[in-house]
Amino acid sequence: MNIQNLHNEIRDANLSYLILAQNMIRADRAEALVRLGLSEDVASIIDQLTAGQLLKIAGSNMLMCRFRFDDSVVWNLLLSHTKDQSQAQGMHAAILMAGKAVEVA
């Protein structure tokens, strides 16, 4: 991937992410905060962004989204699916992820 392609990909990802986040915040703020793992302050800012501002932010060379679960336990639970255990592991991952949302807030 050359550098120009990389920038384009990042911009696309940023734009999709920001638009999704904005839509979620506008539809149901309380729920969006949990799903996005976002603070109330930043949510208000994203809520108010104009299309021009969204484009400008998306055009930066840095990704605006990042991996929320910097924890190998969660990843392993999401990945290792033996058939009869998959529900329990899915629940386990869900509990850990919901708990992480509490710590962020």
Binding site: R29, A30, E31, L33, V34, L38, S39, E40, D71, V73, D84, Q85, S86, Q87, A88, Q89, G90, M91, H92, A94, I95, L96, A98, G99, A101, V102, A105
Partner: protein
Amino acid sequence: MKKVKTVLGEARQIGLASELIKLGARLQVLESETTLSRERLLKLYKEIQKKSPPKGMLPFSTEWFMTWQPNIHASLFMNLYQSLITSSEIDEIDAVIRAYKLYREYLVQLEMPEVLSVTRAWRLVKFVDAGMLTTTCCKECKGHFVVHTYELTKDYVCGLCNMPSRAGKTKASMQVVDAEVAEGEVEVEAVAEETGVEA
């Protein structure tokens, strides 16, 4: 809770009540969370559910939340509830409704039966408020799980890190579903056991 004085206030309460009824809440929940009269609530319940509300006591035991499968479901609900209540300024009952909807989303995704009813979920929040139940951190996975407040939890390991050998077996989980469906029957037993602990 303050008395409804305005038409708009009443409309909001009816909205809240019908949302709870749609989620399957018992009449006692509605009576506690709104100031609408019992007659109106009954009428609303019949209009939405097309049947009379189940009679009998609410399940009142904290022990139910300690058994393996209910504990996991209750813990997931509690984590969602706490993340809602800490991240935005919303009413407790509003957070219960939202957390319960999120909880159900997970169940649909994982194709699991609904073990925790909205009435139980509401009850769980009340138990936590009353200091009878709380959440503690599992020392293995660092997740938060529902436990009794005065339990010794220094070396707590959750039911998912340390799974009992028979846990989650299909037959057992089906029995839990049956038990939930027949919640009315459970409550008949509960009445028999009733020792006046109603919190």
